[in-house]
């Protein structure tokens, strides 16, 4: 098992900091074919060189971070209890009764039974009431697993929590708002509304283009430096508007698809999908609920109120040996899916970064890479979270020894895990998301597209 885990510990950083950035750069690099021959000295097809160039930066930066953190923070202080016993010679002496039979082997019955002297030896053992510590340095693979998990926790606490709240809700909402057959009036209204929205967004797009062109001309005259506060502010404003625009387009596309499903595709639409979503939503709700209860009852208190899920898993095992393990797999895999879900949800609701939704037949590789990177980053925190959640059930595992012994008491990072910072953060964000989604269950762009258009107009005009 140790070998398996070691392979995983090494592969995840390799993927995160080497292969994924490299292929993103490679994929997004301008291959120069479009403008080939127009500029002097531009070699077509130097994508790999370009990608390697950028990749070097990433490798150097993260290589430095990894090396320095390992150099200074690789010590762990594991708490131990010292027990001092009496000297060996204090104990009683026994003689072994010889077995006289030929070729006889030793058996315990040849020893004299234990007596008062043995009890005296046992009771003279003194346990130190205060815990001592053993300082050890962890090996690199365990340390990097911890480092990756620590980094991933920031994302997992945010996205995982949002996903755990949003997953059941969205699945059930999908069932409630499933495509229905429309009559002529509804059809007309919906069509007009969609058309209006498309027109608005086209306007917005035109305005954005105009503004950009204007800016390009201005920049030709005077260059806005990085230290110019005004220019920076304007740039961030522009970026925000662009994100908002993209978000509105995405939501419109979604609605247009819904509309198509209600009308022309209605006959081809699989009616089992909404029902499947409803069932999935109910399952997701149950799993989320159990996770929340488990966190509150088992993970947060210093002495757990009840082992909760651990008991159930053991009970499942006694019933049919595969079910306990399967439930662990379901519960931990669910967390991973929640992280992805939470990322989509977060990107749609707040304008911090670009949305990378996965759509059938419409996903570019860059979105794929982004999402896979996120999933990989969240995988180790999920494992760590699950192991601490199922400590009783998974007590004999290799990963339990790594996570709950070596990493738990690591210098600096251990503080976060011992104080349960991330667990509290996860729970708080989860509750906040529940409240927020309870007030605004449907996705809509931050402000509607008319407001966006008006704002742009006032700026350009």
């Amino acid at each position: 098992m140790e070998l398996f885990w070691d392979i995983i510990y090494w592969l995840i950083p390799i993927w995160m900091f080497f292969l994924i950035p490299f292929s993103t750069f490679y994929y997004e690099a301008d291959d120069g074919m479009l403008m080939a021959g127009t500029s002097v000295g531009a070699k077509p097809n130097s994508r790999i060189c370009e990608a390697i160039k950028y990749e070097m930066f990433v490798v150097v930066i993260f290589g430095l971070i990894f090396a320095l953190t390992y150099l200074f923070l690789n010590e762990t202080s594991i708490p131990v209890r010292e027990v001092v016993g009496p000297a060996f010679s204090v104990g009683p002496t026994y003689t072994i009764v010889q077995n006289t039979a030929v070729n006889a082997t030793f058996s315990a019955s040849q020893l004299a039974p234990m007596g008062d002297q043995d009890v005296a030896v046992l009771t003279s053992n003194v346990a130190n009431p205060d815990l001592g510590t053993v300082e050890l340095s962890v090996n690199p693979s365990v340390f990097y697993a911890g480092l990756m998990a620590w980094m991933g926790w920031f994302f997992f606490a945010l996205f995982g929590a949002i996903g755990m709240a949003a997953m059941p809700l969205d699945l059930i909402l999908y069932f409630i708002h499933r495509p229905r057959h429309m009559d002529a009036v509804e059809f007309g209204e919906a069509q007009v509304m969609l058309r209006d929205r498309v027109n608005e967004l086209v306007n917005v797009g035109e305005l954005l283009k105009l503004e950009r062109e204007e800016k390009a001309q201005q920049n030709g005259a005077k260059s806005g430096g990085f230290f110019n506060k005004e220019a920076r502010k304007a740039a961030s404003e522009e970026k925000k508007t662009l994100l908002q625009f993209k978000q509105a387009v995405y939501l419109l596309e979604e609605d247009a698809e819904d509309f198509a499903n209600c009308t022309e595709n209605y006959k081809n639409y699989n009616p089992l999908i909404p029902i499947g979503c409803l069932l999935g939503g109910i399952c997701a709700f149950i799993i989320s609920l159990f996770w929340v209860l488990h966190i509150i009852l088992y993970m947060l208190p210093n002495t757990p109120v009840t082992p909760f899920l651990n008991t159930y898993f053991e009970w499942f095992d006694s019933w049919f040996p595969l079910f306990g393990v399967l439930s662990v797999a379901i519960f931990s895999f669910y967390l991973l899916m929640c992280a992805v879900k939470g990322c989509f949800k977060f990107g749609l609701r707040f304008l911090f970064f670009q949305v990378h939704p996965m759509k059938l037949n419409k996903t570019y590789m860059s979105s794929f890479l982004f999402n896979i990177g996120l999933v990989l980053l969240c995988a180790l925190p999920v494992v760590q979270f699950s192991v601490s959640a199922f400590q009783d059930y998974a007590r004999n595992t290799t990963i339990n020894q790594v996570v709950n012994v070596q990493l738990q008491y690591l210098k600096f990072f251990g503080w976060f895990w011992q104080k349960k910072v991330f667990e509290y953060a996860l729970l708080v964000i989860l509750l906040m998301t529940c409240i927020y989604l309870g007030c605004r269950p449907r996705d809509s762009s931050g402000s509607n597209s008319i407001a966006l258009r008006d704002r742009l107009r006032s700026r350009v005009g």
Binding site: M1, F4, W5, I8, L11, I12, W15, L19, I20, F22, S23, T24, Y26, Y27, E314, D317, P321, L322, G324, V325, L326, V328, A329, S332, F333, L335, L336, M358, K359, L360, N361, K362, T363, Y364, M365, F368, L369, I372, G373, V375, L376, C378, A379, L380, V382, V383, S386, V387, F390, Y393, A394, R395, N396, T397, T398, I399, N400
Partner: protein, 110 residues
Amino acid sequence: MADVFLIVVIVIAFVLLTIVGLYLVVKYQHPDDKNDAYIPKLVVWFGFVLSGATVLLLPLDVANNEGYAGKLLNWVYPSLLDQFVIMSIFMYTHLNSSFIIISDIIHNNT
């Protein structure tokens, strides 16, 4: 004796993950990327398998604690029922997913 049953489970999970990963990449890709961008595709594919394997290694670890005291499971000699369930899960998912992928390819080509 090596634990045959556990090895079978590992292989099944691994095969399933690779199939699902491949299916996701094929099904969700943008038409612009068809027959292009192989390096990113491979990275995504193996990345998916890797993340799934990471999380599923935990249940395997739980199942694999044979040598320790207080073991929870008895994996050495799976009952007939266990074997049946495992084999049927394997057959079902494998056949289904291969069918979906093949029909998809045929559908795309016509």
